[in-house]
Amino acid sequence: MTQDGFSVILVLATSHAVRAEKVLAQVDVPCKLIPVPRHLSSNCGVCVRVRRPDRKAAVQALNAAQIEMEGVHDA
């Protein structure tokens, strides 16, 4: 699957990624847990991929839920 038009949000731990997915579902932001792309590195092997137009809403929702992010990258 192409990753054009997506942003990936890196988090600190797998459990955070799982929680992030639930938070984003609550605010109707479609997302997908995917392995961290090879060109990025993270403490956690899983990251959250959202559509690029949803990036801002996703980051806001995760901030509000106090899920610490390691970085956000356009993929």
Partner: protein, 197 residues
């Protein structure tokens, strides 16, 4: 003159067995089946046996006109042990999660696996889902999007019909084909390499 095999209404895998037996005796066989799944199973077996298949839909069932070319079919698996190696790569998925232990983690891993499969090589020729693995090919599967994408790339996806039936999911299959143990066993034995998740 084609030998007629009336397999309408017979449960899987009877139509396949009857057709296979008829092809041992006769170079041309017409098998009547009632439903498309039976049609698929018989047609696939025939095609893999080097036969040509033409399907005709009539009011009283589906007629499969099968013609064998060359020598009679061999009764049993002809491959000696160790002769494989040139067949396709086959991936088997026996579970809905990846690895033993924590189910939630296993789900995350299996989702990551199928996402990654769409981005790497070599791709398998066939993916076979059985036991609780069939939960991944039905509506609501967390990997459905990835599987549909793999399907679009020409990867054959087979789901164990017995397993779908056991879990009451036969009507909810959303990607791939309902398969039977004959096809699954043949696919495994003809594989160049089998990788099990």
């Amino acid at each position: 003159m084609a030998k007629i095999v009336d397999a309408r209404g017979l449960p899987c895998p009877q139509p396949v067995i009857m057709t296979r037996n008829a092809l041992q005796e006769c170079a041309a066989v017409t098998t009547q089946v009632a439903h498309e799944p039976s049609q698929q199973h018989v047609a696939r077996m025939a095609a893999r046996s080097g036969c040509t298949v033409q399907a005709e839909k009539l009011d009283d069932g589906i007629y499969l006109h099968i013609a064998r070319e060359g020598t009679p079919l061999e009764h049993t698996v002809p491959q000696p042990v160790g002769a494989a190696g040139e067949g396709p790569l086959v991936l088997t998925i026996p579970d809905e999660s990846m690895g033993r232990g924590e189910p939630e983690l296993g789900q995350i891993l299996v989702r990551g696996f199928f996402h990654t499969l769409g981005e790497i090589e070599p791709l398998p020729g066939t993916i076979i889902f059985f036991n609780s693995g069939v939960r991944l090919v039905v509506e609501g599967s967390p990997v459905l999007e990835d599987l549909l994408s793999l399907c679009d790339k020409g990867i054959e996806i087979l789901a164990c019909g017995t397993c779908l039936d056991y879990f009451g999911l036969k009507e909810r299959i959303a990607v791939g084909e309902v398969s039977n143990m004959y096809t699954i066993a043949e696919t495994l034995l003809r594989a160049g390499r089998v990788v099990s998740l």
